[in-house]
C-alpha cells in the first residue's frame, strides 16, 4: 500500500498547439480534500478529466493505487473508473431513466450488486442527499440542485475511493448552491477522498486540506487553505483571490 491514493507526475496535455497542462504534479492522500482553484482556461477541468482519462493522450503519469492510469488497458480502466466517481458541472443525469434507475443502472449492469441490493443502496443514498421522495421522478422534473444531488448519489453508488467534482455548483441557481455544498461537506466530514474544482472560495476555505492554485496550465501556488487564503505571497494567487472574493 502506498500512502497516496493518487499521484500525478509531470502531467502534460495539449489540444493541437494549445498547451493546456504544463508539467503538473501533486499527490492525494486517503480522505484528503484537494481543492483546485484558478481562473477559467487555466486547465482545472482538463486536469480533473485526465485523472479518470475522459481526456486521453497526455504525457506524464497518473498513479491510482499503484496502477498507472495512462497505460491501463480498457478493462482495467473501467475498474479504475468504478472506484473513481465523477460529478459534472452539467449533472449529466440520464433523462430517460428515473432518479432511482439513474443510481442503480451502473451497479446492476456491472454486476457489483443485485437489483435488490442496488435499489436498497440507492434509497439509502437518496436519503443521505435528502431526496428519497424523488426516487420515481424523472430528472427533468427536478431543480438543478436536486439533479446535482442525485448525480452525487449516483457516483456514490459504486462505492468509489475518490470523488472528482468538476465545478459542481457552477451551473446552479444561487439559492441551490447551498444544498449541494451541504451534501459535499457531509461527505468530506465522513472521510471521503475528494478532488474538487470549484469557484466557491468559502467552501474551499472550509473543506480543503490542500489547495492548488492553477494558472495558465501550471500549479502556480499550492498549500493548506490557511496558507493560500491568508499567508501566500504569490502575486498571481493574491490577484485572483481578490477578484473572486470581491464578487462573492
Amino acid at each position: 500500500m502506498t500512502k497516496h491514493i493518487i499521484e500525478v507526475q509531470h502531467l502534460k496535455k495539449h489540444f493541437g498547439k494549445n498547451e493546456v497542462l504544463k508539467d503538473i504534479s501533486f499527490t492525494v492522500k486517503p480522505s484528503e480534500k484537494v481543492v483546485i482553484i484558478g481562473p477559467s482556461g487555466s486547465g482545472k477541468s482538463t486536469l480533473l478529466r485526465c485523472l479518470n482519462r475522459l481526456e486521453d493522450d497526455y504525457d506524464g503519469r497518473v498513479i491510482f493505487y499503484d496502477q498507472n492510469i495512462c497505460q491501463a488497458k480498457t478493462t482495467d480502466l473501467r475498474l479504475i473508473r468504478q472506484r473513481m466517481g465523477m460529478v459534472f458541472q452539467q449533472f449529466n443525469l440520464f433523462p430517460n431513466k428515473t432518479v432511482l434507475e439513474n443510481i442503480t443502472f451502473a451497479p446492476i449492469k456491472l454486476k457489483v450488486m443485485t437489483a435488490d441490493q442496488a435499489t436498497q443502496k440507492a434509497h439509502e443514498l437518496l436519503k443521505q442527499v435528502g431526496l428519497d421522495d424523488k426516487a420515481a421522478a424523472y430528472p427533468q422534473s427536478l431543480s438543478g440542485g436536486q439533479q446535482q444531488r442525485v448525480a452525487i448519489a449516483r457516483s456514490l453508488a459504486m462505492n468509489p475511493k475518490v470523488l472528482l467534482f468538476d465545478e459542481p455548483t457552477s451551473a446552479l441557481d444561487p439559492e441551490m448552491v447551498g444544498d449541494v455544498l451541504g451534501v459535499m461537506q457531509r461527505l468530506a466530514t465522513n472521510g471521503m477522498t475528494m478532488i474538487i474544482v470549484t469557484h466557491e472560495m468559502m467552501f474551499a476555505k472550509k473543506v480543503a486540506d490542500k489547495v492548488l492554485f492553477m494558472d495558465k496550465g501550471v500549479v502556480a501556488d499550492e498549500g493548506t487553505a490557511d496558507y493560500i487564503f491568508n499567508q501566500t505571497s504569490n502575486p498571481r494567487t493574491k490577484e485572483f483571490l481578490s477578484k473572486v472574493m470581491l464578487s462573492s
Binding site: L54, A106, Q140
Partner: protein, 229 residues
Amino acid sequence: MFAFLHHYYPVFVQGTAQTILISFIGILIGIGLGLCFVSLRRSKYRLFQYIARLYIAIVRGTPSMIQVMLIYYGLSKMIDIPQIQFLGSGLDRLIPGSIALGINSGAYTAEIFRSGLISIPRGQTEAGLSLGLSNRTTLYGIVMPQAVRNVLPALGNEFITLIKESSVLFYIGVQEVTAQALGVGGTLYNFIPPLLVAAVIYFVLTQLMSLLVSLMEKRLGNAYLKVPE
C-alpha cells in the same frame, strides 16, 4: 366502377399480404444494416468510415429500381433460390426483393441513427464511462435509447417511404399490390379503378404505420420529456 372487386378481391388481399411481408422484412434488414453502418461510420478507423460513406453514397445516389434489379439478377446468378411459390410469387423473387429493399433502407436508417446520436450531449457518454461502464453499454444502454426516441419521427417517415417504395419490386415480378393492380387493370382494359384500389391500400397501410410510430413515441418518451409544474 368497383364491381370488379367482387371477383378480384382475393388478388388484392394476396398482393397486400405480400406488400406487408416485403416491407416488414425490408424494415428489419434496414434497421440491422442501419445499426451496423452507423457503427462503421462512427468508428475511429478511417477504412470503416469510408466503407460506410461509400455504401450510403451509392444507395442514395442511384435509383432504387436499378438497385432492385441489379440485386435480383446478381443474386440469381450467384445462388440458386428454389422457385417455391409463396402468396403468388416465387421465393427466388421475394427473397432478393426484400433484401434489396433492406439494403436501400439501411443507408437512410444509418443516417437517421447518426443524426440521433449526434443529438445526444457528450456528457451522457462521459457520465456512463465515468461510472466504469464499457463503451458498448454506454452506447446501447444510455445513448441509443435516447437517440432512438429523438429520431422516431424520422424513422417513421423512412418506414412509410419503404412501404410505398416496395412497389418497385413489381419490376422483378413480385406480385405485390401494385403488380396485382396492374394485372387486374390489364384484364379489365381499364387501369384506373384497380390503381385507385391499390392507392387506398397503400394509404391505409401507411396510416397504420404512422399510428404505430406515434404510439411508440408516446411509450418511449413522454414520461421523461414531460416537465411538471
